[in-house]
Symmetry: C2
Subunit: 119 residues, 2 copies
């Protein structure tokens, strides 16, 4: 009966419902290189990944912060499964709201990596 998405049992983390997701928030979430990298890895994997899967060159608390920004923007869904916090891309929600945007963003990120890697 609320506007938010159904909460999983246990230690549920707050997520915006699909209709609460804002383009500006999504773009802000993806404007950081590490967050963009997280999203690319989630998209490439296609499945949920635990936070510990990501080998980011920052502290654990900074990593937690980046995942939280992505979750609060509606880009990823974070769910506790046992002792692991699992992260999944909200591809369906984003594709429904903004058709083609996520694919364009991922393509742009891949092109940039290819370009700068060659430089």
């Amino acid at each position: 009966m609320t506007a938010t998405a159904p909460a999983p049992a246990g230690r549920a983390l707050p997520h915006p419902a699909r209709e609460q997701i804002r383009l500006e928030g999504v773009l802000h979430a993806l404007s950081d290189p590490l967050r963009l990298r997280i999203v690319r890895e989630l998209a490439a994997d296609g499945d949920e990944l635990s936070c510990s899967f990501f080998d980011l060159p920052v502290t654990k608390s900074t990593t937690t912060h980046h995942f939280r920004v992505l979750r609060e923007a509606g880009v990823i869904r974070q769910v506790y499964r046992g002792t692991a916090k699992m992260n999944g891309l909200r591809r369906d929600d984003l594709d429904e709201l903004f058709p083609g945007l996520l694919a364009s963003l991922l393509d742009a990120a891949a092109r940039q990596e290819a370009r700068l890697g060659e430089g």
Copy 2:
């Protein structure tokens, strides 16, 4: 001979060259509602527009700031023409670096406006 774009005569403003434009910077520039609105208006018009064309609900100095963020990210080109500072979307540069991205972003912004306007 420099990596930056050719400067127009007179009071030239610094711009990143095409190859200096970064996806993260573009996304950050577009993550603000007013800056996104500026870009949408420039895209809809298709031509250069003066800063004074935009009727933004903020002070002149804040408006200047937003245009500067867009310029420094490589999203717009700002050129003095006489006494007017003219702004143009760097569509060719963005389309070359990130094919389809600008179109997807503009479409996403239009969809969001239509959706929230109906709410």
